[in-house]
Structure formats: structure tokens, C-alpha cells
Amino acid sequence: MLAIRGLRKTFGGRTVLDGFDLTVEAGEFVALLGPNGSGKSTALRCVVGLETPDGGSVSVDGNAAMVFQKIHLVGRRTALDNVCSGALGRLPLHRSVFFGQDVREEAVRCLDRVGLADRVLERCARLSGGQQQRVAIARALCQRANVILADEPVSALDPQAAVQVMELLVELANDGLAVVAVLHQPELARTYAHRIVEMGAFA
């Protein structure tokens, strides 16, 4: 589902990734661990095109969505609008000024999937951190992603919200998505991940 081969990336002469490989199958939840600066975020950002790799290949069977530690929703907009914006990639510009009924229905189903069907019209800034992260996951679902890359999805959350989000990610993997999550707590990785990949640091 996701295959990364020999990924290389340098920032101004500093090698961050030097031949990184990772394969994730559909239905698999992989946890990515490693010290600060080992290139975990950079690897994920290369997969979704937020960074351009210097070498190597990335192949995604379908499309990849990303979930961020800082969540990155538009706080002033409703949960529904934020989730609808996941569909932008497949909408022509003239149909993306106001979202059509079909997109809105799909977005409501995505919000229902993450357990937030009752908060559809709430402004995101008024939701708790854990709820916001689940809205961000719903946005990834509305993107119809088959691969979800989560960069420290629970680092900013309290333990209870973190557990909810981790359980949600595992369920999505069990439903057939390929999920990669960068984690900083090894216990969470051991509890939830099907497989743990350690990244070393390049000094």
C-alpha cells in the first residue's frame, strides 16, 4: 500500500535521511520511533509532497493523507467545513466555493466514523484537543485516503484523549487502511502498533 525505497534528504548539507526504507501493507498499523531530529517528520512530509526528496522513491497505492501534531484545522470554521475541505482535491474549482450536498453528506459520515456526529456544526476552535484531532482524521477519511500518515498525533493530547485517538487509528487500520504514526511514547507503540520501526539518527 505504501512503499518507501532508499529515501534521501539533505537540508543545506546536513543529511537527514540516507536511504530510508519502509513498507506498510493495507490493514497494518506501523509505529515510527526515533530520537529528535532523526527525520521522522521529514520522511512523512516527503511522502505527501510537503518536502521534495533528494533521492529514492515513494509509491502510494491510492492517496495518502496526513495528520499533524498541531492538528492544523481552521479554527473559525465548523467541523463539517473542515472535513469537507478534505474533498477539495477531487472537486473542480467552481464546485468548491460552496460544498455540494453530496460532499456534505460524505463529510457527516466521516465525522460519524470518528464519533463526532453530534458536533458537526461546532466551530473547531471550540472543540477539545482530542476532538479536534479526530476531526482532522475525519478530514483524512473525506480525502478517501488509503494511507494515513500521523506525525505525533497524540503528543499534544491528554492521556485519555490520546487513547481515544490511538484506538481510532487502530480501528482504521483494521478496516483496511495503511497507518503510520510517529510516536514518542514507546508504551503506546507497544500497546497499539502491529509493528514498530526504529529510526536512527544521522549525526
Binding site: V48, G49, L50, N63, A64, A65, M66, F68, K70, I71, H72, L73, V74, G75, R76, R77, D81, S85, G86, A87, L88, G89, R90, L91, L93, S96, V97, A136, R139, Q143
Partner: protein, 261 residues
């Protein structure tokens, strides 16, 4: 172990040169503007005469004055409103948050800085020759100048918007215009509205000055009173101007505070 301590560098020779040039320029400016406190003191009688002539204000022109003040307000209003579409389009093109093509950014910035650097009074003089004396020339002048100023302020507000939501939408495959529509604009809308009200406030005051060069409104009446040496009329107009400015300033400030911008 001893470490090399950097030498004290201040004041350096650059500082001395800058200071010397500044002094020379100020002396030249003093001479060129015939700056003279003595003339101000000697001329106080002239001011006293002027005040004596202008008081009490001639309130018989109050009706005409208020009417013209409303015209001035309308010039400022239309000048601001009609510049919205142009300012928005240019700001979207000029901001690096919404436009990635460097040439498009540069082109939009060049247009904005041209419109901004031509003072509205100069635009007014140009448009007076095109459409004749009157408020319409004032509206056109404000539309042009305000597009430049407001477009730049808006572009800066967009530049400062958080990069995260933009990246998040880029990952979904959204195009530049879609990201502008769904990440940038919703985020910066309160700032844009606040800047719009601030510009409305400034433009109403500018339209007074535009009146002085023939673009209608109460500025035009002030100009006429001066030409006819009717200083008592002029004082009435000026009181009305003060009222107008205070009302607009307070109203705009109140709404901006409610917006939290």
C-alpha cells in the same frame, strides 16, 4: 584558557558619518522651508484678527454644511467599497500564502506599490480633468489609492496567517485558489474586516482634502469660504468636519473592537 573578546565596535565610523549627513540635511531643510519661530511670534496679531473675524461662526450655513459632510462621507464610503474587489484580487496574487509563482507575486506587488505611492490628491487632480469637478472624481481617486494601500495591508495579513492549515489542504490535493478559499481567507477574515474599517476611517478624512482640490463634499465648501474670506462660514464647516471625523472614528473603532482585530 582565554577566549578572544570581540572589540567594542560602537560608535563606529558608520555611526559618525550617518550623524554628520543627518545634521547637514536638517540644516538645508531648515533653510529651504524658511523655518522661523520669530515669524510665528511676530505674526500672532494676524492670527488674532483671523480668529476675531471667524467668531462667532455663521450657523446659517449649517444645513448646507451638514449636507456636504454627508457627501464627504459617501465619497469615503464608495471609494473604500469599490476598491474591495481590486484590493482582494491583488492581495491574493501578492501574498506568498496564496500565490507560489514568483513573477505573479512581483507583478502584483509592483501594481500595489505604484497605486500606493501616487497620493490620492494627485489621482483626484487627474480624474477632475477626466470627469470634471465633483464628488465622482473623489471616489475614483480613493478607489485607486486605497486599492494600493489596502491591498498591501491585506497581503501582509495573509502572509502572517498560519502555514499549518495551508499545508494540510495541500496534502489533500487542493489547488492554490482552493487553499486561499478554504484555509487563508477564513483565517484572516477578521483582520481583513478590521483593516477595511480602518481604511474607511482614513478615507473619509482623505475625502475632505480631496474636496479642497475640487472633488466635492465639505472640503469644497471650506475652499470656497476661504476664497470669499468668509471665515465665520469656514468655522462652521470645520466644526461639522470635527463632528464627522469623531463619529466615523468612534464607529469604526467600536466595530473593530467587536471584531477583536
Amino acid at each position: 584558557m582565554t577566549m578572544a573578546v570581540p572589540k567594542r565596535r560602537w560608535p563606529s565610523s558608520t555611526v559618525w558619518i550617518v550623524a554628520a549627513v543627518a545634521v547637514v540635511v536638517h540644516v538645508l531643510a531648515w533653510q529651504a522651508t524658511e523655518f522661523s519661530p520669530a515669524a510665528l511670534i511676530a505674526g500672532w496679531e494676524g492670527m488674532a484678527d483671523f480668529l476675531a473675524e471667524s467668531l462667532p461662526p455663521d450657523l446659517s450655513v449649517l444645513g448646507k454644511s451638514l449636507e456636504a459632510a454627508v457627501t464627504t462621507l459617501y465619497i469615503g464610503l464608495l471609494g473604500t467599497t469599490f476598491s474591495i474587489p481590486f484590493a482582494l484580487l491583488l492581495a491574493l496574487l501578492a501574498s506568498r500564502a496564496t500565490t507560489s509563482a514568483a513573477w505573479a507575486q512581483q507583478a502584483a506587488r509592483a501594481v500595489l506599490s505604484f497605486l500606493r505611492s501616487v497620493p490620492d490628491v494627485v489621482f483626484a487632480l487627474i480624474f477632475v480633468t477626466a470627469v470634471g469637478l465633483g464628488p465622482f472624481a473623489g471616489v475614483l481617486a480613493l478607489v485607486f489609492h486605497n486599492t494600493g494601500v489596502m491591498g498591501k495591508l491585506w497581503a501582509e495579513a495573509m502572509d502572517e496567517s498560519d502555514r499549518g492549515p495551508r499545508d494540510a489542504l495541500r496534502v489533500t490535493g487542493a489547488s492554490g485558489p482552493q487553499i486561499a478559499l478554504h484555509a487563508v481567507l477564513p483565517t484572516v477574515m477578521p483582520s481583513l474586516a478590521g483593516l477595511l474599517l480602518y481604511r474607511l476611517d482614513v478615507n473619509v478624512r482623505s475625502s475632505l482634502v480631496l474636496g479642497l482640490v475640487g472633488a466635492g463634499g465639505i472640503g469644497f465648501l471650506i475652499n470656497q469660504s476661504i476664497k470669499l474670506f468668509r471665515f465665520d462660514e469656514m468655522v462652521t464647516h470645520i466644526l461639522v468636519v470635527l463632528l464627522l471625523v469623531v463619529v466615523v472614528d468612534q464607529a469604526s473603532g467600536f466595530v473593530r473592537k467587536r471584531l477583536g482585530a
